[in-house]
């Protein structure tokens, strides 16, 4: 259920602009890896390269190699939709489909995979909603619009939608930045549970959050505006936050810059 991600010399562009350069890192299965760093350092770009969402933007492209269990996800024979099914993504702002009910939102991915049987869909929806700690709150109103939930519930709905298709890896792009502290806590708890089954990579601006939820932390930074983002340090979270080996990491986590 969970797979290893290996990035070597990953460089990503937006048109002529080089956003990240030569990123090398390995993410172990069933761990939570946090990507931290100042704004514009390319954490989100790197995250979006992992499930090939980066190339959705016009003019955007990725060089280098990214593999999932030694399979190159950028190989030209690889079906991009299969990559995205294997590597799910949760976005910064909760984005449930506004025209769909809670139930329809959760099973949207399964329907795309051609699952039509109602009993299977219902079972999968309940399982995903339970895994997302949302079932008890919504089980009586599955037919109501997903957009009618609170922000935190919407984000857990989006997590349920992502894990309903049973991906190997879940990418989270600042999943709590639009949420209040209580909803944030609920999602952090959820990440602890999810890492039993999935490999989780999370981009966050909140260093306490990175320290709380992750096993490994990658620190990205840029020299100055316009330069590509680079991976400065990648290590166990405990080490990064207690005894980082690079001066720049220490400056960032102690709040001296960024």
């Amino acid at each position: 259920m969970a797979k290893r991600i290996e990035a070597s010399n990953v460089t990503a562009y937006y048109g002529a602009f080089k956003a990240i350069e030569n990123i090398n890192l390995t993410v172990e299965p069933k761990t939570v890896t946090a990507l931290i760093g100042p704004s514009g350092c390319g954490k989100s770009t790197f995250l979006r390269s992992i499930n090939r969402m980066h190339e959705v933007l016009p003019g955007a492209r990725v060089e280098g190699s990214l593999t999932i269990d030694e399979q190159d996800i950028y190989h030209r024979d690889v079906d991009v939709t299969a990559v995205r099914r294997t590597i799910g993504m949760v976005f910064q702002r909760p984005n449930p489909f506004p025209t769909m009910s809670i139930f329809e939102n959760v099973v949207a991915g399964l329907k795309l995979n051609g699952v039509r049987r109602k009993s299977i869909l219902e079972e999968a929806a309940e399982k995903a909603l339970r895994s997302a700690n949302l079932w008890d709150e919504v089980k009586d109103r599955l037919g109501k619009p997903g957009a009618g939930l609170s922000g935190g519930q919407q984000q857990r709905l989006c997590i349920a939608r992502t894990i309903a298709v049973e991906p190997q890896v879940v990418l989270m792009d600042e999943p709590c930045s639009a949420l209040d502290p209580i909803s944030t806590l609920a999602i952090e708890d959820l990440m602890f549970q999810l890492k039993d089954k999935f490999t989780i990579i999370i981009v966050t601006h909140n260093m306490q959050q990175a320290a709380r939820v992750s096993d490994r932390t990658a620190f990205f930074s840029i020299e100055k505006t316009g330069d590509p983002g680079r991976l400065i340090e990648y290590d166990n979270t405990q080490k990064i936050f207690s005894n980082p080996s690079v001066k720049k990491t220490e400056d960032y986590i102690t709040g001296r810059f960024g």
Partner: protein, 363 residues
């Protein structure tokens, strides 16, 4: 202690303002009541002095603007009422003079000594041509709009979108002329072919002559409503939040699946509105139909034989030689057209309203 009288004076004025505003709608009065608080300036340069709240201005820009908007809003109601009164007043005498049933008689002789006219055939032709035009135009228009918004390279999309908008600017009389002089021939050939092989379907039956038929009128109408529907639905599709499309893509949807899960459902109310605007144009279209239809008075589903008529085309064709009763009869037909359009619009509203729980949260 010297401040106290000022304060009470101010409070007094505030009170009068509130009572005055009770004639306004509820929302407005609430805002008026708040106004004195929100317009205060620290230091109090108004009458109060010494820190008291200044008097609210009686004749400010705020008030003038509110008056203007109220006047504009009222004007719409007055104009609609005036039109309705005019139409009914002119139509009634003609309807009284009618010696045949207005709803069922198939013919239009309101200028005779014994006026005979019926709306049935005209209303039928109007609805049939408009419906056929939409049937042809909507799928094509949605296809073009999706191509322009989601498939075409950006520069090509912009250029083509501009061309489509140009098509919308072509006057309907030009479409009418083109339909009658150029488009007639291919439609005639098509009709003959349809008649030869499909005459067992009543739609394509008959013995001719073919050409200036419901089919020709509808196809010309379809071309005319195509740009409106295309450019509106293109705008709607472009407004789909990126977040929704990315959500679908991240679930492993292909481009078409993304359109199906995120773009089309989100754009549904907008598409309905676009189609209704197109239908409005098709129902009211006058000169192009007057030039391309065969102008007969009969209710028939035959699409390819010369014939067909519509309310608006009939008004354009017969207004010139109409007498008093004739004009009244035409105005009565106008009322019917108005009623048809109204029903169409209300239906569209109902469709949109039934899904409001979902569409409102979408905004």
């Amino acid at each position: 202690m010297g401040e106290t009288p000022h304060r009470s004076a101010d409070a007094g004025t505030g009170g009068t303002r509130v009572t005055e505003s009770h004639e306004w709608p509820a929302g407005a009065s609430a805002r008026v009541a708040e106004a004195p608080v929100s317009t205060r300036t620290p230091g109090g340069t108004g009458l109060g002095g010494g820190g008291a709240l200044p008097r609210s201005r009686k004749f400010g820009a705020e008030r003038a603007f509110r008056g203007l908007t109220l006047a504009a809003g009222t004007a719409v109601l007055v104009i609609i009422a005036a039109i309705a009164v005019f139409l009914v007043a002119k139509a009634t005498p003609a309807l009284r003079a009618n010696t045949e049933n207005f709803w069922t008689f198939e013919g239009w002789f309101p200028n005779d000594a014994e006026p005979k006219f019926g709306i049935g055939a005209l209303a039928f032709g109007t609805v049939l041509t408009a419906a056929l035009a939409l049937l042809v135009a909507v799928p094509i228009a949605l296809g073009i709009a999706l191509y322009l918004s989601h498939y075409a390279p950006r520069r090509l999309g912009t250029t083509l979108g501009f061309l489509i908008d140009l098509l919308a600017a072509v006057p309907s009389v030009v479409f009418g002329l083109w339909g009658r002089e150029v488009f007639l021939k291919p439609v005639q050939d098509l009709s003959v072919w349809l008649n030869k092989y499909f005459s067992w379907i009543p739609l394509f039956g008959g013995d001719g002559p073919f050409g200036k038929s419901i089919l020709l009128g509808s196809l010309v109408l379809a071309i005319m409503v195509l740009p409106i529907i295309t450019s509106l639905s293109r705008e709607v599709f472009l407004q789909t939040p990126t977040a929704n499309e990315e959500a679908a893509l991240a679930l492993g949807a292909t481009q078409w699946e993304t359109i199906r899960t995120a773009v089309l459902p989100y754009g549904r109310p907008g598409i309905i509105a676009a189609v209704m605007l197109g239908l409005g144009r098709a129902l009211g279209e006058t000169i192009a139909l007057a030039m391309t239809l065969g102008i007969t008075f009969g209710i028939s589903f035959n699409l390819i034989e010369n014939g067909g008529n519509s309310i608006a085309a009939n008004i354009a064709n017969t207004f010139g030689e109409a007498n008093e009763t004739g004009r009244g009869a035409l105005i009565a037909s106008g009322l019917v057209l108005f009623a048809i359009t109204l029903i169409v619009n209300i239906t569209a509203r109902v469709i949109i309203y039934r899904r409001r729980e979902f569409t409102e949260s979408a905004a």
